[in-house]
Structures are given as structure tokens and as C-alpha cells.
């Protein structure tokens, strides 16, 4: 037995066999599980959008979505319009939540027109405009769903990340951080787009002043916080022409 496994020919045949076997196993598994994974991702987007506009199962300490079973029904109930904004002009698209923001950002880099998905929701007589945005954290991608009112004041936000450091940057998806954004203004007092700065030592740790365009940063997560600031400034600014057109109506 020892001698047989030491032969070069055996080694090569074993290597080829193993690679083919493992490759076939993983390919089979990936393709047979793909429909379920895609469906999970679709439901997650609906849950994220609903979370941002305040339709969620939060208690005092957690950030909890509505259940996956209820998500499609609640999404249809609360989201009144799905729009694709191009150059400030909205076009209705009932599949807008499937628009891949990452691909649209890549298109914009290549000089093509970027489609901006926007969801108009209604709850308790208030209208919410929910925009999905995407940026870079310390290690990998970060993204968010930000619910705004017609004056671009944040009504709710959901942040998520792919690989930020647990305990530090990963805390952007904790409630204490996300809730700080509620009520924060994106525009300055003169009406120009200013964004929201994730700032450390801003003398307002309880976030009482909602018009200072600042929220308190997470200790030890400076680069992730800067990523959040940049993502909001860069992506939400693109929606400004649309919100200005709303005021004209």
C-alpha cells in the first residue's frame, strides 16, 4: 500500500480524481441550492426596506426584521410605489428592488447612466422614500437602506456589512448606531446637500441636535465610520434632483 501511493502516476491520478470529484460535488450543490439562496436574498431586501421605514419586530435592545413568511405581504401592503430614478426623473418599475446597486455603480464608472432605485412607502399617514446605497468599509462592502421624508430628513436606516470587524466596525448594524440617524438632516440650513458626518468627539454623544448633520462615531471603527459618511454623501446626493422636483409639485 505504501509503495503504491508513492508513485508519481498514482499521485497525478489521485490529484485529478480529487479535483474532479470535489469540483463536481460543489458545482452540483451550488446549482441545486441557488434558487433557495436567490429567494432568501430577495426576501432579505424586502425585510431591509421594511425595517428602514419602521415596519419591523424590534424590541428595546435588538434590530429584528419582520419574519420572512410575512415579508412579501407586508412589502405589498406598505410599499406603494417602486421607482427607478434617472436624472431626477422617476419611472415606475415594480421590480426596482431587484436592481443591483453594485452593478449600477460599476455602470456609472464606465460612463453609462446609473439607475437609482427608490421605494415610496406609506405608514400611519406618513410618506417614506427609501433609497438603497452602497459603499466601502474597512475590509469589504457596506450598504444601507435609508428612509427619508420629502425634506430629506432621515426617518429610519438599516446598515449592513460583509466583513467588518466584530465588536468594532460590525456595530454599524446595531440599533444604537442606526437609531442615531433618525431625525438627522441631510441638507444644510440653506438647502444644500451636506450629508451626515459620522464624527468622533462631537460634543453631542446623545445625538440631541438633529440639525448638525453629525452622528456619534463608534470607538475603534474610524474607517468603517468614514465609509458610512462617504457612502451617504456620494450615493444619497444623487437623489437630490428628485427630492427638489417633489417640492416643485
Amino acid at each position: 500500500m505504501e509503495q503504491r501511493t508513492d508513485k508519481n502516476s498514482y499521485t497525478i491520478i489521485f490529484a485529478i480524481g480529487m479535483v474532479l470529484g470535489v469540483g463536481a460535488l460543489l458545482a452540483f450543490l451550488a446549482s441545486s441550492l441557488k434558487p433557495m439562496i436567490t429567494e432568501n436574498e430577495r426576501l432579505e431586501k424586502q425585510q431591509n426596506i421594511l425595517y428602514a421605514m419602521g415596519v419591523n419586530d424590534n424590541d428595546e435592545s435588538s434590530a429584528t426584521f419582520v419574519s420572512t413568511a410575512d415579508a412579501p405581504e407586508l412589502f405589498n401592503q406598505y410599499i406603494k410605489q417602486q421607482l427607478e430614478v434617472q436624472g431626477g426623473k422617476p419611472v415606475e418599475n415594480d421590480q426596482a428592488y431587484l436592481i443591483d446597486v453594485k452593478k449600477e455603480q460599476a455602470k456609472a464608472k464606465n460612463g453609462e447612466t446609473r439607475r437609482l432605485p427608490l421605494f415610496v412607502g406609506e405608514k400611519d399617514g406618513n410618506t417614506f422614500y427609501i433609497a438603497p446605497i452602497r459603499g466601502k468599509g474597512l475590509w469589504d462592502a457596506i450598504w444601507a437602506y435609508v428612509a427619508l421624508d420629502e425634506n430629506m430628513v432621515v426617518q429610519g436606516a438599516f446598515f449592513d456589512h460583509k466583513g467588518e470587524t466584530p465588536g468594532l466596525g460590525a456595530n454599524i448594524k446595531q440599533r444604537f448606531f442606526m437609531d442615531d440617524f433618525i431625525g438627522e438632516h441631510l441638507l444644510s440650513s440653506t438647502g444644500a446637500f451636506k450629508g451626515i458626518n459620522v464624527a468622533k468627539g462631537n460634543a453631542d454623544p446623545k445625538n440631541n441636535d438633529k440639525t448638525d448633520n453629525e452622528v456619534d462615531a463608534i470607538a475603534g471603527a474610524t474607517i468603517t465610520g468614514d465609509g458610512v459618511t462617504a457612502m451617504i454623501k456620494k450615493d444619497l446626493k444623487l437623489y437630490l434632483p428628485y427630492f427638489e422636483s417633489l417640492k416643485g409639485k
Binding site: T5, D6, V22, A30, L33, P166, G167, L168, P205
Partner: protein, 210 residues
């Protein structure tokens, strides 16, 4: 049975993979800022090391010695991808929590170390016990480090505030205690591991090398 139970108990104390063999340090530094992350990582490694050791043990007589390290790498990478895919399909929420850790498992030296040192020379049952024992030994240290780092760094445990509210100044904070931000940074994990090694060696002098 005595021999088998040693396979589980030894790595927990006198042959601990982190404090004695000094393996798996990178992941111990990277993810122990939170207790929950430490627990999740420990469970993930428990699964991959337990199953991986059995697979390598079953294949031990047919693996060509010249490419055995590559074969071990393929086995651990395959297991990690399978775990990731199955979780994404059937436990999506959990897969999101685990995403950072699943990738880190591939780089964990303990796994390759146990494949090479034990599974290649022993039967499946004993290899399984060895895998479980070492993963538990790794987990114990991770959880101890995670406990102290989260408690002293954020004043919370598993996300629940246990020392009071640092902004409202309640609990310990009312008498002047401040969270130690250094505890959340990786170097402090190394110092906590160092303290554990110190305590362990001072309790058992036989562990001290000349």
C-alpha cells in the same frame, strides 16, 4: 475508554492548542472583541475540525504523501464552502452572522495541525474525538478572551449592558469607571492570551520549558 477520554480532556488543559501549542492565534486575536463572535467561531471550528478529521482519517491510506498538505487544504476548503452554501440556503440569518468566521476557518492552523499530527495516523472514531477535543480547547480560550474583552471594552456581555450605561453614567460608570477602548483592539487579545498562559504555567510547573 481512558485513552479516548484523554483525547477530549487533554486539549482542554495541558495540551491546549492555543496556550500550549500556540496555534490558531490569528483568529483568536481577530474575532474576540465580542463574546457572541467567540462562541459562533468556536462552534464553526467544532464542526469543521470534527468532520474534517474523520474525512482525512478515512482517506489516510489512499492519500499520496507528496501532496498530502494540498489534499488536507482541499478537504477543509470544501467543508467550509459546503457549510457556507447549506447555511445560506437553509439558515440565511445564521449564515450572515457566520460569514466573517467561515472564511477565517480555512486559515486556522489548528485544523491543518490536527489533520497532519493525528488524523493521518489514526482511525475515524479517535480522530473525531481528537477534533472535538481540540476544537473545545480552542473554544474555551476564545470564550475566556471574548468575555474579558467585551466586558472591559464595551461594558456588555452578549450585547447586554452589565456595567450600566456609559452615557447616562449609571451602574459602575457612576463611580467613575470608564470603558477601556484598548480591550477592543487586537493587541489586548494577545495580552489576555498571555495572561492565561502565565496563569496556566504558574499553576502547573511541568508546562514550563527550559
Amino acid at each position: 475508554m481512558g485513552k479516548d477520554s484523554k483525547l477530549i480532556l487533554d486539549p482542554l488543559t495541558d495540551n491546549n492548542p492555543i496556550t500550549i501549542q500556540v496555534l490558531g492565534i490569528c483568529s483568536a486575536l481577530a474575532i474576540t472583541a465580542e463574546l457572541e463572535a467567540s462562541i459562533v467561531m468556536s462552534i464553526s471550528v467544532l464542526f469543521v475540525l470534527g468532520v474534517g478529521n474523520v474525512v482525512i482519517s478515512l482517506m489516510r491510506n489512499i492519500i499520496p504523501s507528496k501532496i498530502r498538505i494540498i489534499v488536507q487544504l482541499i478537504v477543509v476548503a470544501t467543508l467550509v464552502i459546503i457549510v457556507d452554501l447549506v447555511l445560506k440556503a437553509f439558515a440565511y440569518e445564521l449564515s450572515k452572522t457566520l460569514s466573517v468566521f467561515v472564511g477565517l476557518i480555512i486559515t486556522n492552523c489548528i485544523i491543518m495541525g490536527r489533520f497532519e499530527a493525528f488524523a493521518l495516523g489514526n482511525g475515524p472514531w479517535r480522530s473525531f474525538l481528537d477534533g472535538i477535543g481540540n476544537a473545545l480547547g480552542y473554544g474555551v480560550i476564545l470564550i475566556i478572551v471574548g468575555f474579558f474583552r467585551e466586558l472591559l471594552g464595551s461594558g456588555t456581555l452578549l450585547g447586554f449592558p452589565v456595567l450600566g450605561d456609559p452615557i447616562e453614567k449609571t451602574g459602575l460608570y457612576s463611580i467613575g469607571y470608564e470603558n477601556n477602548g484598548f480591550m477592543l483592539l487586537s493587541p489586548m487579545a494577545l495580552i489576555v492570551v498571555g495572561i492565561i498562559i502565565w496563569v496556566q504555567r504558574s499553576r502547573n510547573k511541568a508546562l514550563i520549558e527550559d
